[in-house]
């Protein structure tokens, strides 16, 4: 006979926590519905999903780096500098596709630079990426000089506020492509296995013949590319860009990844969790807005959310280990 506990222990641990996460999201939504009458309006729901898309695009890149060797703390600054590059170019009458391409190349290069600092110079990722962000925010400020650039062409804005086939919002389309590709690379390719192996135990991975340096370089490259993509979608959506556009995005995007169940210690996690995490994060931010929580509280709330999530993740993995060892 099976009691509840042994049921739990025979299930895949990731499925258990995944179901728990979706359940938590539903609970938060229902609670929000009770507290705020506007929460379940079609307008608000579509707002949440569209905002969550940008968070998820950023989150997928961050997830890959967290799995491989540690979070890319420069995502907010790469998002900023690439968004600035894109809007400057499009305002200088370059074709919008060229400006996207240049922004994506800049983002990928900066990501690769992070990778080189980690693999070739030997800096820990949280120091090189954390350090790089100050320089990048500085350059964004130099380029824009405190001005706000706004009002772009419809072509440029399509990726942020357009609708595919007249109904599906473009950020959602981009997000779905990114999440699918992220899932595919992580789960179905050798590169993905390299990422997980490197994150789980770098020395062991290297000794079993995996090119861990290449894995780290690629992970940061992907993160830089997706930060740039998220930046483009973001400025296209809000139709304006300033030098601090990405300054407050690091904490929520980190929260997104950890709420998605990706382990802070690396080697475990996935993009679907991040997607759910992005929706939870957006619902929380949306909830703070609807409830009129003063914006000064925002950082404190998101910071505590990160800590609570990581603490919960640690507790859950300990429980699962215990349950696993009993079988």
């Amino acid at each position: 006979m099976m009691n509840k506990k042994s049921m739990l222990s025979t299930m895949d641990p990731n499925t258990v926590s995944g179901v728990g996460r979706v359940f938590a999201l539903l609970l938060i939504c229902i609670a929000m519905g009770f507290v705020s009458p506007v929460f379940f309006t079609a307008r608000n729901i579509s707002l949440i999903i569209t905002n969550a898309s940008i968070m998820a695009i950023l989150g997928v890149g961050l997830t890959v780096t967290v799995i491989t060797c540690g979070p890319d703390l420069s995502v907010g600054s790469i998002l900023t500098i690439t968004a600035v590059v894109a809007v400057i170019m499009v305002k200088a009458n370059f074709h919008f596709l060229l400006s996207f391409a240049v922004a994506l190349i800049v983002g990928t290069s900066l990501g690769l630079l992070n990778g080189v600092l980690v693999t070739k110079i030997g800096l820990p990722s949280f120091i090189s990426t954390y350090g790089l962000q100050w320089a990048l925010f500085g350059f964004a400020y130099v380029i824009l000089k405190g001005y706000v650039i706004y009002n772009f062409d419809a072509d440029f804005r399509f990726i942020g506020n357009g609708y595919l086939f007249g109904h599906i919002s473009m950020p959602i389309v981009v997000m779905m492509v990114v999440v699918f590709l992220g899932w595919f690379i992580l789960r179905k390719t050798t590169i993905g296995r390299m990422f997980y192996a490197t994150g789980a135990n770098r020395d062991a991975a290297r000794m079993s013949g995996i090119d861990t340096g290449k894995a780290i370089l690629l992970a940061f490259g992907i993160s830089g590319f997706l930060s740039a993509l998220a930046g483009i979608v973001l400025v296209a959506r809000i139709n304006a860009c300033q030098a601090d556009i990405g300054k407050n995005i690091l904490l929520p995007s980190l929260a997104t990844v950890y709420m998605g169940g990706t382990r802070a210690t690396g080697g475990q996690g996935g993009v679907f969790g991040t997607l759910v995490g992005a929706v939870i994060m957006t619902v929380v931010e949306n909830g703070m807005n609807l409830l009129g929580v003063p914006s000064v509280w925002r950082n404190a709330i998101i910071g505590s959310l990160i800590i609570l999530t990581v603490l919960a993740n640690i507790a859950v993995s300990k429980q699962l280990e215990k349950a696993g060892s009993k079988v």
Partner: protein, 320 residues
């Protein structure tokens, strides 16, 4: 701890880079090496000297504290708020230090009791401390006119109080590091944590104590900064944690295996202060400065770490 001689060798490049930068700045503006500006340098570097010493202790234990900038901010705010509400200056200073201690104790609890990774715990808690700073001040700087509070940041003739206090505090931390069991445990934990625990040291307590100590020290630095600026600003500490980490690395401390020491950090602080002050003295447009400083620091770190990696490789080759 690494032998003194190789330690000196390790921090050599920073010394030469600093000297070179000083000459370059002096070439562009002869005011740079004037007595007045050198005193300025000491005054400006004083607060960073204290924070960086705290950061070095944490990094020596193979930890990291990204919340120091926010602790600096928050403790400055609580001390200025209490002095403005009529508390005696000694009490206000005490409240600032206490704020730092509490912040550090919370961080330490997350890391040593709940086994969170230092950089996540301190990054998350950074958001919380900045959040509290913003809430307390409602996002605007609080000024203070209390003459005995701002005395600690002022000058007596040519004598900058902040520099004296900063150097004094640094020497005290150096003493704690070299002459107490606490200092030895830090290095031991950084070198081999489980080995240290097995040899009977309560590593959990000492790690907790380390973050609490770093918080308290930074709290004191926050009071000093507020006293020098005659104000507490809710965003004054943004980025200080990175300056402190950069100074630590430039001072020859590595993030692995507890290698390095507190003394070298002073050199790192000197380099950073020279860069910040020099860019001002040669009248670099203020809009360019954050980008320039960020880039210079990254390059300096890359050079320092790259060179020390090369020298450790050489050492390895020489050994049979």
């Amino acid at each position: 701890m690494i032998p003194f001689r190789s330690y000196i060798q390790k921090i050599q490049p920073v010394f030469w880079v600093t000297l070179l930068l000083m000459l370059v700045f002096n070439f562009f503006s002869s005011r740079f090496l004037s007595l007045h500006n050198i005193i300025n340098l000491f005054q400006q570097g004083a607060v960073l000297l204290i924070v960086a010493a705290a950061s070095t202790l944490v990094i020596l234990s193979e930890g990291l504290d990204l919340s120091l900038g926010s602790v600096l901010t928050l403790s400055g705010i609580t001390s200025v708020m209490s002095v403005n509400s009529g508390a005696p200056v000694s009490v206000a200073i005490g409240i600032g230090i206490l704020t730092g201690l509490i912040c550090g104790a919370i961080t330490g609890t997350l890391i040593s009791i709940f086994h969170m990774q230092p950089f996540i715990a301190t990054l998350g808690i950074q958001g919380v401390y900045y959040g509290i700073s913003l809430v307390l001040t409602d996002s605007v700087a609080i000024l203070t006119k209390n003459s005995s509070f701002i005395f600690f940041g002022s000058r007596i003739g040519y004598l900058p109080m902040a520099a004296l206090i900063g150097v004094g505090a640094f020497l005290l931390i150096l003493l704690v590091f070299h002459k107490t069991p606490f200092g030895r445990y830090i290095v031991a934990i950084g070198g081999n944590e489980s080995g240290t625990r097995l040899s009977g040291v309560n590593t959990r307590f000492w790690k907790w104590f380390l973050y609490t100590f770093a918080g308290g020290v930074t709290g004191f630095a926050g009071v000093l900064l507020a006293s020098r600026l005659e104000a507490a600003d809710p965003i004054v500490g943004v980025g200080w944690e990175f300056d402190a980490i950069a100074a630590t690395i430039l001072g020859g401390t590595s993030f692995q295996k507890g290698k390095g020491g507190v003394a070298g950090t002073a050199l790192g602080v000197l380099l950073i202060t020279v860069v910040r002050n020099g860019l001002n003295v040669i009248r670099t447009p203020s809009i360019l400065q954050p980008a320039l400083i960020g880039t210079i620091l990254i390059i300096a770190i890359v050079i320092q770490v790259g060179l020390s990696m090369r020298s450790t490789k050489k050492e390895g080759k020489n050994k049979p």
